[in-house]
Subunit: 352 residues, 2 copies
DNA sequence: TTGTAAGCGTTATCAG
DNA sequence: CTGATAACGCTTACAA
């Protein structure tokens, strides 16, 4: 090592050893909860305090093969949904002594893979992933890219063909229930704004919509024709963002024969739709039947109040943490552990 | 090592060495961009491929004292503002070969400190922090808790007394400009909803408000009296959340002598205020002068359009990355490097 | 260009 | 209970 200025080199166990006159082994043992003579206990404490010693977690990890960290990979950090999941996930893991590090792949395919790989190389003890583009094959490869199988839990979104612990919402029944409520309120001409169909949640939500209509004997296409005679589609596919909700809502309203009710299937799109409705002076719940997603704040405040599907984000994070902790502790559980959480329908019927 | 089941133990350079018949040194050198004979190049590539070798970054870090990772600590991951900063920050760092790991302290004081400490112990090469509760003394301690001074950049929020590179908004002039515009539009009785004053941004925004009024010779207290004769305060302190904006807006409207114009100083509070206004049938920009913050989506869509202060979140993340990269590269720059970014006032004057 | 060997800061084994 | 000592997987002089 060269002398580079006045660098106060970080103190190690070796320094603590010199300072206290005890051996490395004794100190390490004590620092890891072992028993030492009371007198030595004090000497070590003093030395640690005096030198400002802090364990080098890299060195420790190299030796123990554990980092006590968990990697979390999310599509974005700009939407409240994931933030809320993260918060309870982090807390659950923290209570067990783990730290979680979050990465966003910003909806990007390559980045999704890269982030996962980097985490593995950094030796996290487990991974929580809200997956989108990555394939079952790639995930298997990643999971086996180290000695023992990397503990892994999928949240919110799953990847078809990839057998893995996962915590998801019962998306199918979420939209089923929402649409059913609209049907019960007398609607027969119901539209839906869904997300990109390569995302499992979007797919499932659409299936729930279709099934509800089927079960009640309603033809999706019925009555939806454009001026030029072609069919109008009551299923509008958005990108899970504000713009999509805004635009697709307007698309619906501009139809020859607009739906009398609408189901909008995530937070941002719900915000977009509500904004568009406000702008057009369409009163949701009154002029048109409406069920949104996630925007629970909003439904309390808008008048008349909106019907909203609420997803248990906190619980999702907590469950994900719990399952991951078990896997990391090496508990043998049936594989995969799939937990499908129920969403809650805030049902607000409009009354004159 | 004991034989624990069928664990395919992860391959190391040693394995690559055996497989290829070359020495550790040669392989390491090649893997780090050094020159080897073409023939050996191939043998190594083959071995790496065959064994699925991946470098153990812990071991590497132990040796090199670099991890090529950056720790980012934020108050929350549930608001779009930080998500947007993170996105460009991550990209900037990634282009230089660094990976960023994000932690949220969920507005919690203890957690804020803990996250910083854990990151240091994990040997990140640098830290980006949006600080709130932590003191200058604590930050100095953290910055010096290792050999060389830990490169560190503050974003959005600063800590008084802590000398550090920081990328912030010119908050003072942001509200100054906003209030000035309201004054120019003829308002003399102007209220503001600010955030918690222990957050630097909130403080600065309030100062900007006060100074604008002073400069134009307007008395803040003028005319604001409650029914019981006490003063009403045109400065309402919220918590930077939706609820605060909603409630404080209503507080203002319920005053004996409500302000004729309002400045609301972050995204969530702006959303709350807009919602409350909508609910009360108060038309912002027409019935009452209004300038919000951050909610650029909204101002495009609401009618009449809102005046909004837009913060350059992307640029903030990018600049933070750039400064941090320089520090991590050991460039000698004047310390501290403080970059104060201008916000942009979307000025929408209401016309009948 | 290649190989040998030392050492990064820990933990863990095994005598004392 | 304590203390030498050998790893952990990698990088890096230095020697060949």
């Amino acid at each position: 090592m060269q002398a580079v200025g006045q660098v106060t080199t970080l103190s190690t166990i070796k320094d603590v050893s010199k300072f206290s006159g005890l051996s490395l082994a004794t100190i390490s043992k004590y620092l890891n909860g072992g028993n030492v003579r009371d007198e030595n206990r004090q000497r070590i404490d003093e030395a640690v305090e005096a030198l400002g010693y802090r364990v080098n977690r890299n060195a420790r990890s190299l030796k123990t093969n554990r980092t006590m960290t968990v990697g979390v990979v999310m599509p974005t950090l700009s939407v409240p949904f994931f933030g809320s999941v993260l918060s309870s996930l982090d807390q659950t893991l923290r209570e067990a002594g783990y730290t979680s590090f979050v990465c966003s792949y910003d909806f990007d395919r390559d980045l999704e893979l890269e982030k996962l790989r980097v985490l593995c190389n950094n030796n996290v003890d487990g991974i929580v992933l809200a997956a989108q583009h990555v394939s079952a094959k790639e995930l298997n490869e990643i999971r086996n890219s180290r000695g023992s199988e990397m503990p892994m839990v999928l949240v919110d979104r799953t990847i078809s063909g990839f057998v893995c612990d996962s915590i998801v919402i019962d998306n199918l029944n979420a939209t089923y229930g929402a649409v059913e409520q609209l049907i019960n309120a007398g609607h027969r001409h119901i539209g839906i704004i869904v997300g990109p169909l390569d995302i499992s949640t979007a797919n499932e939500r659409m299936v729930g919509y279709r099934r509800a209509l089927e079960d009640y004997g309603i033809n999706i296409e019925a009555g939806a024709r454009r001026k030029d005679g072609t069919h109008e589609d009551l299923v509008q596919i958005g990108r899970y963002d504000f713009e999509s909700g805004y635009r697709q809502f307007n698309n619906f309203m501009d139809m020859e024969n607009p739906p009398t009710a609408l189901c909008v299937t995530n937070y941002d799109m719900t915000m977009g739709a509500v904004t568009a409705a406000h702008e057009r002076n369409v009163i949701l719940g009154k002029d048109i039947g409406f069920v949104g997603f996630d925007a629970v704040d909003l439904c309390r405040i808008v008048s008349p109040p909106l019907s909203i599907v609420e997803q248990p984000t906190q619980l999702m994070g907590q469950k994900a943490g719990e399952v991951l902790l078990k896997r990391m502790a090496g508990e043998t559980l049936p594989h995969p552990q799939v937990i499908r959480l129920k969403s809650y329908l805030h049902n607000r019927i409009y009354k004159e």
